[in-house]
């Protein structure tokens, strides 16, 4: 009996702990990045929207229907196939992305954001990349999280007040965060796992072929890397090592900083050298969920201190004052010196 009582006691302690929402700042940063990247996508491709997603697009509505039928998927663009319908959905998608990033009506916008972004990508599945795939999956999990930190909602309407089900809201939030973390872990585990099976990766030459290919080349920058045996080998094995270590070290209190740094370096490199800019931003943004609220607050405190010091250093004028020694004044100031 005492064994079961022990289990019940531990379960109660765990459920109490899981009922308090954590990592709200990290989740809010992910919301801002995802909403921002998607809003930029809408804005950047506004002149091309007809070519990419319109009624006369590069992927015809009939071809989209064929693909959706094979993947058991759907898109609102099929429900509203007219040019006006497509235009309305596009504008709605842009507005909702901005609202999502800004954190307005956060109880509703995550679902709308998912539906519209999903619809956009399913209308032209060829335009979808790995970053968009991760964005869509994490958005599903984030629909169950409390996204009200760093939001206009909090600014305009004050902190969220749950009456009777605050514990459920907290628990769902924490499970959503855990789901996001597990998804990140699976992503990097798989990426590393598949790489170690490839001969080109295990021979240390994969980075050469990727950077030399016309699709991912950056003349003048990538050349410098692929010409160097050392950089190619370090880049290839470094990528594999990082991806294999990531799913394990990301849970460690201190080593996750190393993982975050590695992610920034890897994805910044991918963005610049291979041209996968938005993919890289999405992947880096997703890592914001690694850190808890205390860590963000410590970072903010540190940045404020640095800003304060810099401010002081630049404000204080450098003045050389002439000084004549007065022994009487010195003795009065320091009587113990005698």
């Amino acid at each position: 009996m005492s064994f079961f009582r022990n289990i019940a006691h531990r379960l109660s302690a765990a459920s109490q702990s899981m009922s308090v929402a954590r990592r709200q700042l990290g989740v809010a940063i992910v919301r801002i990045v995802f909403g921002g990247v998607t809003a930029v996508l809408y804005g950047l491709h506004f002149p091309q929207r007809q070519f990419l997603w319109g009624s006369d697009a590069v992927v015809t509505p009939a071809d989209t229907a064929t693909i959706l039928s094979a993947t058991h998927s759907w898109t609102l663009y099929s429900l509203f196939p007219s040019p006006l319908g497509g235009e309305c959905l596009y504008w709605l998608g842009l507005i909702v992305s901005l609202l999502f990033a800004a954190g307005l009506f956060v109880r509703v916008t995550p679902l709308l954001f998912f539906v519209l972004t999903w619809s956009l990508y399913q209308r032209n599945a060829f335009a979808l990349d790995g970053g968009d795939n991760l964005l869509l999956i994490l958005t599903i999990y984030l629909m169950f999280a409390d996204l009200s930190a760093l939001s206009l909602d909090r600014l305009l309407f004050g902190p969220r007040r749950e009456k009777n089900f605050a514990w459920l809201s907290g628990m769902l939030h924490n499970f959503a965060v855990t789901a996001c973390l597990l998804q990140l872990a699976i992503l990097y585990f798989d990426a590393g796992f598949y790489k170690i099976q490839g001969h080109v990766w295990s021979s240390g030459t994969a980075i050469y072929y990727i950077l030399r290919s016309n699709l991912f080349a950056l003349p003048g920058w990538g050349d410098y890397i692929w010409r160097s045996a050392a950089l190619v080998t370090i880049g290839t094995y470094g990528t594999i090592l990082f991806e294999i270590m990531h799913p394990f070290l990301m849970w460690h209190r201190r080593l996750k900083y190393l993982i975050f740094s590695g992610a920034v370096v890897l994805h910044a490199g991918i963005g610049l050298l291979m041209g996968l800019v938005w993919f890289s931003l999405t992947m880096i943004g997703a890592h914001a969920i690694l850190f808890d609220d205390d860590e963000y607050l410590r970072l903010l405190k540190f940045m404020r201190a640095v800003y304060g010091n810099l401010n002081q250093a630049f404000r204080r004028p450098l003045v050389m004052e002439s000084h004549t020694f007065d022994p009487t004044a010195a003795a009065e100031a320091n009587p113990s010196a005698g």
């Binding site: 019940a8 379960l11 109660s12 765990a14 459920s15 950047l44 491709h45 002149p47 091309q48 070519f51 990419l52 006369d56 590069v58 992927v59 071809d63 693909i67 993947t71 058991h72 999903w118 032209n124 599945a125 060829f126 990349d129 790995g130 795939n133 991760l134 869509l136 999956i137 599903i140 514990w167 459920l168 499970f175 855990t178 789901a179 998804q183 699976i186 990097y188 798989d190 990426a191 598949y194 790489k195 099976q197 490839g198 001969h199 080109v200 990766w201 994969a206 072929y209 990727i210 030399r212 290919s213 016309n214 699709l215 080349a217 010409r227 190619v232 963005g271 610049l272 041209g275 800019v277």
Partner: protein
């Protein structure tokens, strides 16, 4: 109070079980096929697809070791009314160079669409063991049922016609695949001869369609 705590505990157990099942399914669908995933494949697929479908084998197990270009050739009516066949245009290279000049270029998504459609084409039903099934292809084209990936590439080529230097109303277009093998790692200091080590695979001409401009 105790009932409230019991509800909380049950929620915790339920959510933990759901998360465990979900991520076991996710893990199963992302890894290579195993006897377990073959046995329970239908159940796993019905759980995962379409919302959680994912593949994280970025450039793995084999990254691209040669260039795969999508090329296009046009037939257009000249001013004299004659049908002229243009030389082959390398669509992929044009888009790649635009993305190289500006990493934030809006053409990057067009490049990505063409590149993904190419991958979709070589994995489609008209390719068997890496070889094109010409008979099946002709059957599909004549019945207007070519694979969406092929049709998408043809339409991308149609949209690009207006930026070519060809003067005349376009009549038809065909796309092709150009595979170019650049120097291997051990010969990386050799310059890349774009005209050498190429294999081409042209597809049949199809009538021009109305496509929105890509820029």
């Amino acid at each position: 109070m105790e009932r409230h705590q019991t509800t909380r505990n049950l929620c915790l157990v339920g959510l933990t079980a759901l998360l465990t099942v979900h991520f076991l399914m996710t893990f199963a669908v992302t890894l290579p096929p195993t006897p377990l995933t073959v046995e329970y494949g239908k159940a796993i697929d019905s759980w995962i697809y379409p919302y959680f479908s994912q593949s994280w084998s970025f450039f793995a197990p084999t990254p691209p070791t040669e260039d795969n270009f999508v090329i296009a050739q046009y037939r257009y009516k000249s001013s004299s009314g004659a049908i002229v066949e243009s030389p082959w245009i390398n669509l992929s290279r044009t888009l790649n160079e635009a993305a190289q000049r500006d990493r934030l270029s809006s053409l990057a998504i067009v490049q990505a669409t063409v590149s993904s459609a190419y991958c979709g084409l070589v994995k489609s039903e008209i390719f068997k063991d890496g070889k094109l099934d010409e008979k099946l292809l002709h059957d599909r084209i004549s019945s207007n049922r070519q694979p969406p990936a092929l049709h998408t590439l043809e339409r991308a080529a149609m949209s690009c016609y207006r930026i070519t230097s060809f003067k005349g109303a376009p009549v038809s277009v065909r796309i092709g695949i150009l595979d170019h093998k650049f120097p291997r790692f051990t010969q990386r200091y050799k310059p890349d001869d774009e005209a050498a080590n190429n294999t081409e695979l042209p597809f049949p001409f199809v009538p021009f369609e109305s496509v929105a401009p890509f820029d």
